[in-house]
C-alpha cells in the first residue's frame, strides 16, 4: 500500500522518525537506525571535539537518513533561533526541529517561547517542525504560524510514560491542517501503535530504542508497531462495548442433550 508521509512537500515511506540521542556507541546507533527503517533522524548541535567530529553525520549518510537538526538545550526563543541558524549553516538544510524548553528537569516546552521562535523562523524561511506540549490551543497557534508539522509530546522526554492524555491528542488531530508527529514519551512498541491508531501522521522517538536493553530489536519492534498502528487506523477498528458479541454463531448449534427418560424405562 502506498501511503507516504508528506512534510513540507517531501514524501517519506517510513512514518518513524528517529532521534539519535542516548545510544551507547555509533555502531549501536547505526544498527538501530537500520532496523528502524527511519528516513529522517534528528541531531543536536554541539561544540565540536577533534576526536568525535562528524561521525553522526557519517552514520546518517550511510544509513540514508535525511538529517533533522534540533534546538535541544535552548531555553529561550532567542537561543533557539540562533541555534536554528547555525544548524542551517552547518548542515545546509532549512529543516529544524524547534525546541524551546521551559525547565531542565522536566524538559517540557515553553509555549510562549515556542510561539515567538516559530514565528521568527518561519519568517526566516525555515521548515519548522515544532516540538510542542499536548495543548490543543498551542498546537493550533503553531500551525497557524506556518509550522510544517506540529509534534506534541505524549509525555516528558525520556520518561517512557507513553501517551498520558490521548484526549488532548484527539482534539489536536481533529483540528490539524499539518502533519502531527507524536514526539517524546514513547516507552515501548504499543505506545507507538496507539499514537498511530489515534491518527498521528508519524512518531518520533529516541530513548525508547537507544536505551532499551537491545536497541536494534526495539528499533525493529518500533518499525512494525508504527506500521501496525497506521494500518489499524486505516482499517477502521471495531467499536468498544461493555458486553460480548459472539464470534461463533449460535445458529446451527447441535442438540447434544441426553434422551429424556421414558416412562417405559428405555
Amino acid at each position: 500500500m502506498d501511503d507516504p508521509l508528506t512534510i513540507a512537500g517531501q514524501a517519506f515511506s517510513s512514518r518513524l522518525i528517529m532521534g539519535t540521542g542516548g545510544a551507547s556507541s555509533m555502531e549501536a546507533l547505526e544498527r538501530a537506525l537500520v532496523a528502524s527503517g527511519a528516513e529522517l533522524a534528528t541531531v543536536a548541535l554541539r561544540r565540536t571535539s577533534p576526536d568525535a567530529r562528524g561521525s553522526v553525520l557519517d552514520v546518517l549518510r550511510r544509513v540514508g537518513c535525511k538529517l533533522l537538526p534540533n534546538t535541544a538545550g535552548c531555553f529561550t526563543a532567542r537561543d533557539a533561533v540562533r541555534t536554528a541558524r547555525l544548524a542551517r549553516e552547518a548542515f545546509e538544510t532549512d529543516w529544524i526541529k524547534l525546541e524551546v524548553i521551559g525547565d531542565d528537569r522536566i524538559l517540557l516546552p515553553d509555549g510562549a517561547g515556542l510561539l515567538d521562535a516559530a514565528e521568527t523562523l518561519v519568517d526566516d524561511g525555515f521548515t519548522v517542525l515544532a516540538y510542542s506540549n499536548d495543548d490543543p490551543i498551542l498546537a493550533r497557534q503553531l500551525q497557524g504560524l506556518g509550522c510544517a508539522a506540529v509534534m506534541p509530546l505524549g509525555s516528558p522526554i525520556g520518561s517512557g510514560m507513553g501517551i498520558r492524555n490521548p484526549y488532548n491528542l484527539r482534539i489536536i488531530l481533529e483540528h490539524a491542517t499539518v502533519p502531527i508527529v507524536l514526539d517524546a514519551g514513547i516507552g515501548t512498541a504499543s505506545d507507538a501503535a496507539v499514537a498511530m491508531e489515534l491518527g498521528c501522521d508519524a512518531v518520533l522517538l529516541a530513548s525508547a530504542v537507544t536505551r532499551a536493553r537491545e536497541p536494534a530489536l526495539m528499533a525493529e519492534a518500533m518499525r512494525k508497531a508504527v506500521e501496525a498502528g497506521r494500518l489499524a487506523h486505516l482499517a477502521g477498528r471495531i467499536p468498544r462495548r461493555l458486553y460480548a458479541e459472539a464470534s461463533s454463531s449460535f445458529e446451527g448449534l447441535a442438540d447434544l442433550s441426553a434422551p429424556l427418560p421414558e416412562p417405559d424405562g428405555r
Binding site: 532521534g19 539519535t20 540521542g21 542516548g22 545510544a23 546507533l29 534528528t42 541531531v43 543536536a44 548541535l45 554541539r46 561544540r47 565540536t48 577533534p50 568525535a52 567530529r53 562528524g54 553522526v56 553525520l57 538529517l67 537538526p69 534540533n70 535541544a72 540562533r82 541558524r85 547555525l86 544548524a87 549553516e89 552547518a90 548542515f91 526541529k97 525546541e99 529516541a206
Partner: protein, 68 residues
C-alpha cells in the same frame, strides 16, 4: 589577544580571523558540517577568513552530535 574558542581561553594574534580560531579547534577553513557563532551570531562560511576577532570575543565551533 585572548578569545574564547568553545569556552577555552585561547591566545591569538591581534587581527586574527574566525578561520584562525577554527584552526585551534582542529578545523580547516573548508570544513563542512560545522557552523561558527561569534558572540552568539552566525558567521557564514564565506566570511570565516575575513571576519576578524577582538579581545574577549566568544567563538563557538559547532557540529552534529547525537540528540533528540
Amino acid at each position: 589577544m585572548t578569545v574564547l574558542v568553545n569556552g577555552v581561553p585561547t591566545e591569538l594574534d591581534p587581527g586574527a580571523t574566525v578561520a584562525a580560531a577554527l584552526g585551534v579547534a582542529g578545523h580547516t577553513p573548508t570544513a563542512t558540517g560545522i557552523a561558527v557563532a561569534l558572540n552568539g551570531e552566525v558567521v557564514p562560511k564565506g566570511a570565516w577568513t575575513t571576519t576578524t576577532l577582538g579581545e574577549q570575543d566568544r567563538v563557538e565551533v559547532l557540529g552534529a552530535a547525537q540528540g533528540g
